[in-house]
Structures are given as structure tokens and as C-alpha cells.
Symmetry: C2
Subunit: 205 residues, 2 copies
Amino acid sequence: MGEEIPKIIIGRLPLYLRVLRRLKNEGEVYASSQELGEMLDISGAQIRKDLSHFGELGKRGTGYEIEFLIEKIRQILNINQVWNIAVVGIGDVGHALARYNGFVNRGFKVTAIFDSNEKKVGTEVQGLVIRDIKDLKEVIHKEDIKIAAVATPASAAQSVTDSLVENGIKAILNYAPIYLKVPDDVLVEYIDPAIHLQKLSYYLG
Amino acid sequence: MGEEIPKIIIGRLPLYLRVLRRLKNEGEVYASSQELGEMLDISGAQIRKDLSHFGELGKRGTGYEIEFLIEKIRQILNINQVWNIAVVGIGDVGHALARYNGFVNRGFKVTAIFDSNEKKVGTEVQGLVIRDIKDLKEVIHKEDIKIAAVATPASAAQSVTDSLVENGIKAILNYAPIYLKVPDDVLVEYIDPAIHLQKLSYYLG
DNA sequence: GTAAAATTGTGCAAATAGTCACAAGCAAAG
DNA sequence: CTTTGCTTGTGACTATTTGCACAATTTTAC
């Protein structure tokens, strides 16, 4: 309990949460580790062991109470609050993120969008005005933003990242196809469709 | 060499490739494992060990010849060819994928796009006509498509996936926020921005 | 009230992944 | 040709992750 939780376990919690939400939606009240495992292609033992890091969350003979476990995982992941998100770079991807409705009830809300293109600045997307990248500092502080998505061309991604970090951003979701250099206390997750596909094509022989 | 290559190693090869491409672009000819490692926050030893699974690709005292290694990794990942990709669901994400220029020279090309919305069918995106989802079978076979991206709402994703699998699709890039049930010989990669962000928020305390 | 069935939590074993450190090979300098 | 410096490939070791199997606990059936 007092120890550090392995990153790989934290990475699975959002998956557990997603499937628990689904079961709750379907009217289920309890779920066993076996059942959850089958829905995720993960062994029941692994799910039990993962969850055991956070206390005794299940009940022998019955399984896990879905509503309770959802709440517990939300607490662990710090998403029993809403994090404001900044999106930088309003091309196709930035646009898709700004309009994405998958954030609702999952702990996040896009509250600021930025671009460097003067023609875009001032126009609206999903009710949000596109701000000039030069206003990064002002907006980030005003909106108390700690998480940003970088959706700029690769050529701009590192310098945008540097500005974000300088202004207190602590976590970045990076869509640009490059590795970002950041200080140790800043976290980055990467999304690059080509990289994901290349992992797959290996197995297609 | 004859053995099975661990999945985790295959997963890193695309990253190596991306940084090698970048170095090549900058005019470099050789790169050491140390240098590559620093650009990726991976130890040099790990890069050497990963690559050693595929033969002796480096030269002692010199490092790896960039052009040669790029070609080698492209061969390993089966991207020394172009895979035709089908995108299903032309909302914001599907649209972004269809227009994505990050696939060029990375082994993939979107050659078919589908939607079920009659108003969208027949219109063009990036020079491609949106086809009715009912024409899946015909188009997939005609274009010899083996890889598809699912960018539909969650409610449609599983049934779309079933059709894709039935028509010979062997790898899926899934943007819908659900786990997809597929036969053992079909591979799926998942992209869900909320899931990625939830992995980050844990560490934001 | 007892027996049978279900399911968790967990110690231990197995498998997988990553690091270290160094012999071996190559290049450059003198 | 020899020495020096650099870098790979890899065996041995360490760390991490996963799977197994079962005691402990709860529920259900009779």
C-alpha cells in the first residue's frame, strides 16, 4: 500500500474503469475479476492483483461492486475532478480533439485552444475562441491548466512544448510524430497512428 | 534469430525508425546506440540488444549505418511496401485520418473511406469518395485491404469490426472507446485520448 | 444449519524484460 | 605496425511482471 505503484498497473486502471462504466450502464451491480478479464483479454488473477494494491476492494464470493470500484478508481486516477485541457494546433487533429465528446465524464474538458495561424485566431471551434499561441502564458494561468495536447506539425512541436513547460504544464498528450524533450517532472504520452500501424504490420507477414 | 521476437521489442522498432529518419534528414550517416538512446530516453544497451535479435546490424567502433538500419527495420516491420488502409466512420477522427499526411513514406495509404450516413456517402474527402458501409465487402476485396481504422461511435464499433473481420481484415486501429472482440488471428491497436490522459492524471496528484 | 459453489487476496514460482560490464572488433593517429 | 579510443554484441545478473494454486470468506441451495 505504502509502496510505489508500478506504471504498468496505472496504465490498466483506465481500461478497468471503461469496462466497469459499460457494465454499470447495462445495469450490472457486481462484476467478478474473471468477468472483467474476459472483457479485456486479461487474466482474472492479474486484475485481482492490480486492484489489491489499493486495498481490499472486492468481496469474496460476490466479486467487486461496480459503482464502488468505479468511484475508487476515479479517486486513484485523480479524475474525480475535471482537468482543464489546452489544445495547441488546430488542424484536423486539434479540431477533432476540441470537438471530442469522449472527455465528458471522464475527467477532462478542453477549455483553451491555440494556433499560430492569424487567419484561425479569433474564430470559434465548439464554442471556444482560438487564441494566439502568444497568449499561452496568460490563458494557461487564468484557466489553471496543467495538461495540454500538442497537435502541431512536427517542426513546431518542441518549441511549443518548451513554452508549455515553462508555463507550468505538467502533462502532455503529444500527437506530433517526434519524441519530446521535457524535464523529468513533466509527463508525455504519445499518439501517432503510423507508429501504431507499424506495430501491426510486422505480424501481417 | 529463429525464435519469436517479443512484442515489446517490435513495439520499439517504429520509434527507432522515426528517429533514424530524422537523423538521416539532418544529413547524418552513422548513429551509435548511445546517441539513439538519448534521443528516445532508452538505454543504449537496450537498443543494442533489441537490434541484435535481427542480426549484427552495427559496426564496432562506428555505430549503425543509418540508411542501412532504416532499410532493415522497414523490412522487419513489413513496411517496405505500402499497405492500403480503410477508414470506417468519417466524423472528425475519420476525417483527420483520411487527410493525415503522416502516412506518406511510412508504409500506409488510406485508399478507402466508409460511412453509414447517407448524406456523407458519395461526397469526397481528400480526393476519396466516401463509400456506403454496405459496400465494405466489394471495396475491401477490390483494393486488397488488410488493415482498417475504426473511427465510428462506440455503439457501431463492434458490428463494424465484425464485418471487417468477416471480409478478411487482419489488423485494426481502433479509435472507438471500447474493447473489440476479434478472433485470435486479428490484431487490434487502441487509441483513446481519454485513456491516455487518465494514465497521466494519476501522477498529477 | 450444513454443504456446495463462488470468488477474493496472496505467497510462491515462472517468465519476461532490462541493466551491467567487458571481450571483441574496427578506426584513427602516429 | 602499434597504440589508443570508440562502439558493438552478449553472457550473467537483477528487476519486474505474470501466472498458479489455494486458504479464507461469502453466498446460495437444500
